[in-house]
């Protein structure tokens, strides 16, 4: 681990006026990141550039790989060698990484992936922000799996949530996605970095038994299994094939496969409570609510301010953690409401998950915006008054 003195010297002043992408780099380093591999892509390139400048000064490897697939592969390799590893990309690269994300889920390899979302599909509008990869974040890779996804809505949150992502990745032995967007990624705001003395890093649990009895993919217990790093004498066999608790392939064993995949899914799903991170701004008597995340939460907050100044009653729930989806928090939020509005920079993604969660107890409407300009508060206010697009 880096000495606090060195980290302080390299990161410089704790108060900065920084871009979201660069803030993700600060957050990563403060989250104990000691390996970064990436590939240039608008609007995420600045993350790699910041890491390229900072990591060597800390003695931590940073690599530009030949493509995004190689970047995530190197990250997972470094993770198994004991590293706290991260990559950063945007839509087209995120699509390439899906197989690797599945491999990380299947082998329970902690890793962090930043997706600075841009307008798609395909090459789309490379320099324009969007929130069009949210369902892909949840279901982009094949097969049953769970993902942890955080949605920063400010430059400070780029620092804080990227930091948090590392601890969550280690605790749950799962990939963690930091879903920012081109707006948050490139805007500048004042930030305060935590002191290098107060980092509180959570790490994967090391083995507590001798190699003969070590089970790197053990079931039972409330936590992710112990994980020995390569090179420590534990002779771990890691494979994307379905495997037993020892890690040995068990493709012909339906029971073993079921046990494994149910455990991988339950590992996250059963901890939805602990992984729920939301911010509430409730108003007594409000029958209309807004559920937002990421950059659109800034627009939503503006809308709430304007609406209330006009005498309207409206409550606001911001999802800081989007996956595992905080169903209970959304259901509680929606109690007593007639309508809930979901603003997002896409043609409707999280609104469907909200609708599923509320199960008809309130009408779900969306305010969608694509093309690159972030949603204006007035558009959301109009939806509060006249209704948004029914989902």
């Amino acid at each position: 681990m880096t000495s606090p003195e060195l980290m302080t010297r390299v990161l410089g002043s704790r108060r900065k006026f920084a871009q979201g992408d660069v803030a993700c780099a600060y957050g990563a380093i403060l989250g104990g990141c000691d390996f970064f591999a990436g590939y240039p892509i608008t609007p995420a390139t600045e993350v790699a550039e910041a890491m390229a400048a900072l990591m060597p000064r800390l003695g931590h490897p940073v690599m530009q790989m030949e493509d995004e697939i190689a970047s995530l592969s190197a990250v997972i390799g470094a993770s198994w060698a004991g590293g706290r590893a991260m990559t950063a990309t945007s839509g087209p690269g995120f699509s390439l990484m899906q197989e690797g994300i599945g491999y990380a889920c299947m082998t329970e390899a902690p890793c962090v992936i930043v997706n600075v979302q841009r307008s798609g599909p395909s090459t789309g509008q490379p320099t324009e922000p969007a929130q069009g990869d949210m369902l892909q974040a949840r279901w982009g890779t094949h097969g049953d799996h769970e993902i942890i996804a955080l949605a920063p809505a400010s430059v400070q949150e780029c620092v804080d949530l990227t930091r948090l992502a590392f601890n969550l990745a280690e605790e749950y032995r799962n990939p963690v996605l930091v879903m920012t967007d081109g707006e948050v990624g490139h805007m500048r705001e004042p930030i305060i970095l935590p002191s290098a003395d107060e980092l509180e890093l959570v790490s994967r649990r090391p083995p507590t038994t001798a190699p003969e009895s070590y089970l790197p993919f053990a079931g039972g217990g409330d936590a992710a299994p112990e994980m020995a790093a390569f090179g420590t004498g534990y002779h771990t066999y890691v494979t994307g094939l379905t495997h037993d608790e020892r890690g040995l392939p068990s493709t012909d064993d339906a029971a073993a496969h079921t046990a494994l995949v149910e455990r991988l899914v339950g590992k996250i799903r059963d901890h939805t409570d602990r992984l729920t991170r939301v911010e509430e701004d409730l108003q007594d008597g409000a029958t209309v609510g807004i559920v937002s995340y990421g950059i659109s939460a800034r627009s939503a907050a503006g809308a709430v301010r304007i609406a209330r100044s006009q005498g309207l009653r409206v409550s606001h729930l911001r999802l800081v953690g989007v996956f595992p989806f905080p169903e209970e928090a959304v259901q509680r939020f929606v109690e007593g409401m007639d309508r809930v509005i979901v603003p997002e920079m896409n043609l409707g993604q999280i609104c469907h998950v909200v609708r599923e969660a509320v199960e008809g107890s309130a009408a779900v409407e969306r305010v969608g915006r694509i093309g690159g300009e972030i949603i204006r508060p007035e558009e959301i206010v109009r939806a509060v008054v006249d209704g948004g697009e029914r989902v």
Partner: protein, 282 residues
């Protein structure tokens, strides 16, 4: 000889994974044998050795070795291996891959790993087809050969993997076949000792796939094909110029060897230089 085999088996093989999946006459099991003999001869610390692989028959080898193993996604083993080695340089990294895994889907990672010259040993078992999936054409399938996806004969030109490795910058490149066990073991040893990207292509039969499609006959006949169709570099050099010019046999031997800076040398030099200069933030 037999004591040696038993000793090596007891020392290195993961018993719970045995017996292997390999077909009769397959060359992959032999490569396992040669590799274990090589690491045993060198005295490699098995606790500090990681075996990586992609997907395919060749890529099943790490599972049989009682050591840290990383069986990854198709074509990507070299990228994973890069992450392992660069993060923890004290580890020895040995990669098992195949012609399809490395030169088909993995081609880009292959040339970049060689270019970067990260210290690792790459053993590419070339059986001229995608064996695991039933024998499809691969980037090394000879012109004219039949396969399940070239039922009328392959008309595409194949790669010469060693030329590709040399062109991409690998400092040690060797090619052998099943008929040269001692030389193959020695080549693997040299590749491991190479501080950099050590590449060994091992031509192996696939009697169930390519061998069957091209009517090479039984397992021994498959092996014989390599004897008939390869020539060592030394034997080639011994031919008179006219015969040499007419040679169409595959050349085996150590095909390239040079000293050049390894990736981690450059990285460590950079880190050292920055520490000397004092740090500034971004």
């Amino acid at each position: 000889m037999f004591n040696q085999a038993k000793r090596i088996r007891d020392k290195y093989i993961r018993d719970e994974m045995w017996p292997s999946i390999f077909c009769t006459g397959c060359g992959v099991g032999n490569v396992l044998n040669y590799t274990l003999r090589a690491i045993d001869a060198i005295g490699l610390d098995i606790d500090r050795t990681v075996f990586c692989s992609g997907i395919g028959c060749s890529s099943r080898l790490p599972g049989y070795i009682d050591a840290d193993g990383l069986h990854t996604t198709h074509g990507r083993a070299l990228a994973f291996a890069t992450g392992v080695k660069v993060y923890k340089p004290e580890l020895s990294v040995i990669v098992f891959t195949g012609d399809g895994d490395m030169a088909g889907i993995g081609g880009n990672h292959f040339i970049h790993a060689a270019r970067r010259n990260v210290d690792m040993t790459v053993i590419c078992i070339n059986n001229n087809n995608y064996g695991m999936t039933g024998g499809q054409v691969s980037p090394t399938t000879p012109v004219g050969d039949l396969s399940t996806t070239t039922p009328y004969g392959n008309f595409e030109q194949p790669f010469d993997l060693c030329r590709l490795a040399i062109g991409a910058g690998a400092p040690f490149v060797a090619r052998w076949t099943m008929g040269f066990p001692y030389e193959t073991v020695a080549a693997i040893e040299s590749a491991i000792r190479t501080k950099g990207f050590g590449f060994v292509e091992i031509l192996a039969p696939c009697p169930t796939g390519a061998g069957k499609a091209n009517e090479l006959g039984d397992a021994p006949a498959n092996w014989d094909w390599y004897k008939k169709n390869t020539i060592t570099r030394m034997d080639l050099a011994a031919l008179d110029p006219e015969e040499r010019a007419l040679n169409r046999k595959i050349i085996v031997g150590t095909l390239w060897q040079e000293d050049k800076p390894e990736y981690l040398d450059g990285w460590q030099e950079l880190v050292g230089r920055l520490q000397g200069e004092g740090e500034q933030g971004v």
